[in-house]
Amino acid sequence: MTETVSTPQPSPGFQPRTFRPHILKLLFPLLWAIIMLVPPLMISSTLNSMGLGEDPIIESASWLFGGLYLVFVISYFTMQVIFWYFDAWIITKNGLIDIQLVSLFNRRVAQLNWSQVQDVRVSIQGPLATLFYFGDIIVQTAGKEGVFELRAIPNARAVSDLIDELSQSAQSPAQGGIKFISPTQRLGEILIQQGNITESDLEQALQDQRISGRRLGQILVAQGRISREDLVKALSNQFHLPYIDLSRYDIDPNVVKLMPYATAVKYHAIPIHRSADDVLNIAVAEPEREKFTELMGQFDLPLTFLVADENYIQEAIAGYYSNQDHSITQPPITPPSLDEDTTATE
């Protein structure tokens, strides 16, 4: 049995709401259970027509095995009810909890913070869904989970609006000009707190930093003490910005065009999404106040920033700008190297 449970603390004033698939999702299992009852009824009818139904042995066997079969059918339908009932999505003020019963004895619980929401779509397909007004809600996120899908949700559009509203309010501090929260902790402290490194690892890395002048995060990655993902998470934590796994994110090519190639290369940044209210989300590898201020000066749109892996940003720049005209080219993008001085310092 595998299970990972994480429960965010709901903020006061907002009652968490639980959503489950529409009850009509049980219609087909119910029909199937009814169909399963047909064969024994036919057998019983045949036995009666052959005059064997009066035989005490056959009659008692019919009762015993018929009863057992009925218990099996009830249990089958109950199992479908379990799969239906334990697929639940809980909306709290802080985020969305996705609880899925993947298979028997295997439940998966994932959590999404509203600040990670990139896009919300509603899909109402089929006559039943249209008639009874339920649908799928697809939440595109900047997190590792990628996409959250809320299936067959009653009144899907209203729920989608609620998710949109909560995610907008979570991201609103960055709209119309970012409110940069200065780091209150050093990167090394965060990595120790996260359990990625020990104090002696940090001391050794700091010693290397004094000699080489490279950034701490890159030294630790190069030494194999932390993964690139650990570094991104730590930077996200340090700068109070959401992180995004670009390897799982489908960047809109039209949004990429909003940033010139030279700017993308200079700042190690790439636009990934433009929200409905015209906020441009930019993935950066090196969160720094000066960088944000300079980028804001180059766009008419309000910006939000997310931390992403340097390598993925480089790959995205190489991939998305390869077909675009960037005649005023900057030096070509070199493959990311762990020896480069690219990460925010302690």
Binding site: T18, I57, I74, L101, L104
Partner: protein, 67 residues
């Protein structure tokens, strides 16, 4: 070997297998319930239905065999 012995030799293993299924379902209701949900209600209805069917079928089989 009497007909009843043959019936029971098939019935008892099948009964035990079905009971395993029932226990697995009951386990899911207990283990995966969420605070304030209706798991207990569903499980009660389910177990009541299963118990009624089993009691009815066994008692009817006994009546059919003996009367």
């Amino acid at each position: 070997m009497s007909p009843l012995t043959i019936i029971l030799s098939f019935y008892i293993p099948l009964f035990l297998l079905t009971m395993v299924y029932v226990v697995v379902n009951g386990f899911h209701f207990i283990r995966f319930r969420l605070p304030g949900d209706l798991s207990w209600l569903f499980m009660s209805i389910y177990l009541l239905a299963v118990a009624s069917v089993i009691i009815t079928s066994i008692s009817s089989a006994i009546v059919a065999y003996t009367v």
